[in-house]
Amino acid sequence: MTLVSLDGVSKSYGGVPALAPISMEFPAQRVVVLIGPSGCGKSTLLRMIVGLVAPDTGRITIGGEALTKENAARLRHGIGYVIQEGGLFPHLTAEENVALLPRFLRREGSWIASRLAELAELAQLPAASLKRYPRDLSGGQRQRVGIMRALMLDPPLLLLDEPLGALDPITRYELQGELKRIFAALGKTVVLVTHDMHEAAYFADDIVLMREGRVVQRGSAADLLERPAEPFVRDFLRAQRAGLPPT
């Protein structure tokens, strides 16, 4: 079953193409990772799915419904979106950030409280941190709160734009493990953007390698490694491995 499908979407900025017409499907409950060098269009693609960027051509369908300006707000309630550093609102505590949308939607207080507790446990965030403002949290904690906020309404679709990009290596390693566990436990449809091949291989059921607004190859990590579609695939993987001790 397909949750999200892109049908010939393209985008250019001031005549410079950022995304060639792309058609792509994101099957339900699978983790798809978009990867590629800077400027390859992977973030643009992700932002299109959540309606932050309107495609010049083509059509985006989410859960069988075409995304339009009018239904974007409603469809977004079914999408969890996580960016670097969590994108938390600095004037709200962690808890207020997470509960912002359900409170606006007038969900019951008891439901919100139990959902908060549940997610704090899932994201392994200490209860005391929930009362803190974002500036008083560590980078890792901020990202956990960002993930909790994205998951609050239990959306079927989770979009993550370089979620671990701003973290130190140790925190990053920890959080990678937890994210993977969360994806597996909740059975979400996940689209994750990264530029790190190890991270991609770690999370992905499917990797989409992009370059200059085009999809170069889609497949498992093993596919990319063993059956590169173009020399660029091999170059990209090799560049990612550089700096590591030979195995």
């Binding site: 999408i79 670097q84 949308l101």
Partner: protein
């Protein structure tokens, strides 16, 4: 004389006096308080912002009150000719003392001063009239020390030509104007080459024997003090500035007996009387009301009112009983106008941020408003509201207060990090909720800073409200400026500065309370 020049002449810096006693302020309080709740049956007398006008305003007021048939209030020191004229047309005041020259040149734009009947024909369209010539003129004139004039046999301007050895000292303004010295010289064939000097120094220079002839206003207070002779303008060179009453045409009918009493002032005040009264107010610091009372009800030499008032200390002036009322009026002006500025400025700022095409127009208009001179804005608003007092003053302050709030709201919203803007968008919040829950709180620091700027500026600007009878600390500043009384001026300026400081601290406290804790600086 051009209109601007006549204004400059009428509001000459040498008109110095004081009226700082408690008695005066108690009287002022009694007279001004009803002005705030002006009723139909009340005759409202205005006056301009210089000694002679204050004194004449008091004389009219007391004369009208003595008739006993109507309530009379005196709205003192309302500002310049434009404001008084607007207030008169609007019916906010009914009568005030004016000069024929000012009406002809400044208000009607004429090149000469026609007879009263002709002036009245021109004013009738506006429902106004001039009349009741008081008996003196306050014209431009030349003067010299009386003893010297007598010994040389000089009484008229034409006599001067026979004494080329005389040293003339003229104000720069008179010297440099084309209808000033050069025209006068030609009219009287004067053989002099005068020196230019500051008018404030002219009397002293004359008294010290460094000069023989200076230019004066014919009812200057110092004429008597320095024992000067005002030379007769025997070739009618200077235009007539006859003191008259400027009033609404409906006044005689509405205030029959009271107006009859006021009409009794016709021809009653001689130039000598006026000089003496100006001197009493300006040089002896007798309160205006008391000077006027001495004219309206002649006093026994033994009565307590006849003596010179005791000089009050600065602290007494500062803490005079009107302090509470002035503070309340000032706070009312500042906070009501501030509330309006916030209520209108924030939506405008939001609009400016949302609509880039409207932004330039909105910010530009708010900016231009700030550059409009206060007196011009007040005169315009008096005409627009058809009244003087608190309402147009608040409107002016409201307009002046808009820019900081509009600009800071717009820039505060514009400065929100794009990532946060997107984060609120992808949550699926509708625009109104994004504004209320995310954007305004994030911009709160900037918006509050704008409101604080607006409030602090307002405290200062509110002092101009006194020009149009809206009270506040400006009453003391205006009175102090008009009569060159530094103590009175400071007694208004210091509380205003203190209020600005307290407001500033108050807003810093409000900052901690209103700006979300997560945005506070640590």
């Amino acid at each position: 004389m051009t209109p601007d020049e006549t204004t400059a002449m009428q509001q000459h810096p040498s008109r110095v006096t004081s009226h700082e006693s408690r008695l005066c302020w108690t009287l002022a309080l009694l007279l001004l308080a009803p002005a705030l709740v002006w009723a139909q049956g009340t005759l409202s007398v205005g006056s301009k912002r210089f000694t002679e006008s204050y004194v004449l305003g008091e004389i009219i007021t007391q004369t009208a009150a003595k008739a006993g048939t109507a309530q009379v209030v005196h709205q003192q020191g309302l500002g310049n000719t434009a404001i008084l004229h607007a207030a008169l047309k609007a019916g906010a005041i009914h009568v005030y003392p004016e000069y024929t020259g000012t009406i002809a040149f400044e208000l009607l734009g004429l090149k000469r001063v026609p007879p009263l009947a002709e002036l009245n024909r021109m004013l009738a369209n506006d429902g106004l009239a001039v009349g009741v010539p008081l008996g003196f003129a306050n014209s431009y004139a030349l003067a010299m020390v009386a003893t010297q004039a007598a010994s040389l046999g000089i009484g008229r301007l034409s006599d001067l030509a026979r004494h080329p050895q005389l040293r003339l000292g003229l104000s720069q303004e008179f010297l440099n104007r084309k209808d000033g010295w050069e025209a006068l010289k030609a009219a009287y064939a004067m053989p002099f080459s005068p020196r230019g000097l500051d008018h404030g120094l002219a009397y002293e220079a004359l008294a010290a024997g460094q000069l023989d002839v200076i230019d004066v206003y014919s009812t200057d207070a110092k004429i008597e003090r320095y024992k000067l002779t005002v030379l007769q303008d025997d070739r009618s060179f200077f235009p007539a500035y006859d003191a008259v009453l400027f009033y609404r045409l409906d006044v005689p009918a509405r205030f029959g007996a009271t107006w009859e009493a006021v009409k009794g002032l016709e021809g009653r005040i001689t130039a000598r009387n006026m000089i003496a009264m100006n001197a009493a107010a300006e040089l002896d610091r007798t309160p205006f009301a008391q000077v006027a009372a001495g004219f309206v009800v002649p006093q026994d030499p033994g009565s307590p009112l006849a003596g010179k008032p005791r000089q009050p200390s600065f602290l007494e002036v500062l803490l005079a009983p009107d302090l509470g009322r002035l503070t309340a009026e000032h706070l009312l002006l500042v906070f009501v106008s501030l509330a309006l500025s916030v209520a209108v400025g924030m939506p405008l700022g939001i609009w400016a941020e949302r609509a880039p095409r409207a932004r330039g127009a909105i910010l530009g208009a708010a900016g231009i408003l700030q550059t409009v001179p206060a007196l011009a804005l007040l005169a315009f608003l008096i005409a627009a509201f058809d009244r003087i007092g608190t309402l147009p003053a608040i409107a002016a302050l409201f307009l002046y207060g808009l820019l900081p709030i509009v600009r800071n709201t717009q820039s505060g919203l514009a400065d929100i990090a794009p990532a946060l803007r997107e984060a609120s968008l992808v949550l699926g919040l509708p625009p109104a909720a994004r504004l209320r829950l995310i954007e305004l709180p994030l911009a709160s620091r900037s918006i509050l800073a704008g409101i604080k700027t607006s409030a602090v500026i307002n405290v200062g600007t509110a002092t101009i409200a006194a020009f149009i009878g809206a009270g506040g600390y400006g009453e003391r500043i205006v009175a102090g400026l008009a009569v060159n009384d530094h103590a009175m001026l400071l007694a208004g300026a210091i509380p205003a500065a203190a209020m600005a400081l307290i407001l500033q601290w108050g807003f810093d406290g409000l900052d901690r309370w209103l700006v979300p804790a997560g945005l506070q600086e640590k």
